[in-house]
């Protein structure tokens, strides 16, 4: 498993290195994206999908029970939905720091700093703007990310028992050249 993780890291790094920071005026601009399988806690994609289906089915049944006046039963099946994600190396700042970001058509805010720490550079300007909320995007598209806004600065991730919504938060938004 550790060996596999190392391979994945190398694969993603290769993408980052191949990205040449030059100005291109000839539109369109293409960017290779890496497909990455996240095996955390789940043996394979099939099992991950089966677990997810079980949760969805359970939710459906729980809703039916609730509809007829019985106590709502939350289904508590630990799953990690992010079995397949697509990532790309994106450079931020001057000189650029490359971050591996999930490509997400289901959200529109771009942000960094989750895994490797954000590196402030000379071209970074703090807008003083706080991120106050992120929209809930139930549609699972490329990255299968599901953003659930629970309260200010908090949101859940994926299908991780979203009722309990693991808290996460975003900090400041900065325009970066």
């Amino acid at each position: 498993m550790a060996r596999l993780s190392a391979l994945l890291t190398i694969a993603v790094a290769a993408v980052a290195i191949s990205a040449k920071p030059i100005v291109v005026r000839n539109s369109p601009v293409t960017l290779p994206i890496a497909r990455r399988v996240n095996l955390t806690g789940t043996a394979n994609v099939l099992k991950a999908d089966q677990a997810r289906a079980k949760v969805l089915k359970g939710r459906s049944q729980a809703s039916k029970k609730a509809a007829v006046g019985k106590v709502f039963a939350d289904v508590d099946v630990p799953v990690t939905n992010t079995a397949v994600i697509y990532t790309a190396g994106v450079g931020v700042g001057t000189p650029p720091t490359t971050y591996n970001l999930i490509i997400d058509t289901g959200s529109s805010n771009t942000w960094v700093g989750a895994d490797s720490e954000y590196v402030q550079t000379s071209s970074s300007v703090d807008t003083g703007d706080e991120v106050v909320s992120l929209p809930w995007q139930p549609a699972c598209r490329i990255s299968c990310s599901v953003w659930k806004h629970r309260s200010t600065l908090t949101w859940g991730w994926g299908f991780r028992k979203s009722v309990t919504a693991r808290a996460s938060s975003l900090g400041r938004s900065s325009p970066i050249r």
Binding site: L7, L8, A11, V12, A19, P21, V23, V24, R25, S27, P28, V29, T30, L31, P32, A34, R35, R36, N38, T40, Y86, V90, G91, V92, G93, P96, Y99, N100, L101, I102, D104, T105, S107, S108, N109, T110, W111, V112, G113, A114, D115, S116, T127, D129, V131, V132, S133, P135, I142, S143, W157, R166, S168, S169, L170, G171, R172, S173, S174, I176
Partner: protein
């Protein structure tokens, strides 16, 4: 910000103070519609997406993005492609359908 060969200046980027469930990745490149950014920051209004900013600067000819990805049996493979400001005609056959 540099994305592939594309340089985008003055792009608003959120910086996480902490995050959960993002093992091995650093964040999100949000390429959805700009409407989803409305009210997400304390100043209110929209935050232009990377695509909006690139288009406004004239770096790409159209404010849309092409996405191609394909199934694979391998654990990790770079077989997808984003096309900023256009579509890669070699990635499909026939006519593009608009719905």
């Amino acid at each position: 910000m540099t994305i592939g060969g594309l340089v985008i200046e003055n792009q608003g980027v959120g910086v996480a103070e902490f995050a959960f469930g993002f093992g091995g990745v650093d964040g999100i490149l949000g390429i959805g519609p700009v409407d989803l950014t409305e009210g997400t920051t304390s100043s209110g209004g929209d935050i232009p997406t990377v695509l909006d900013t690139a288009f406004a600067a004239g770096s790409i000819d159209a404010n849309f993005i092409g996405v191609s990805f394909e199934p694979t049996t391998q654990d990790s493979v770079t077989n997808g492609e984003l096309t900023f400001g256009g579509v890669n005609e070699s990635k499909f056959t026939g006519q593009l359908a608009f719905v």
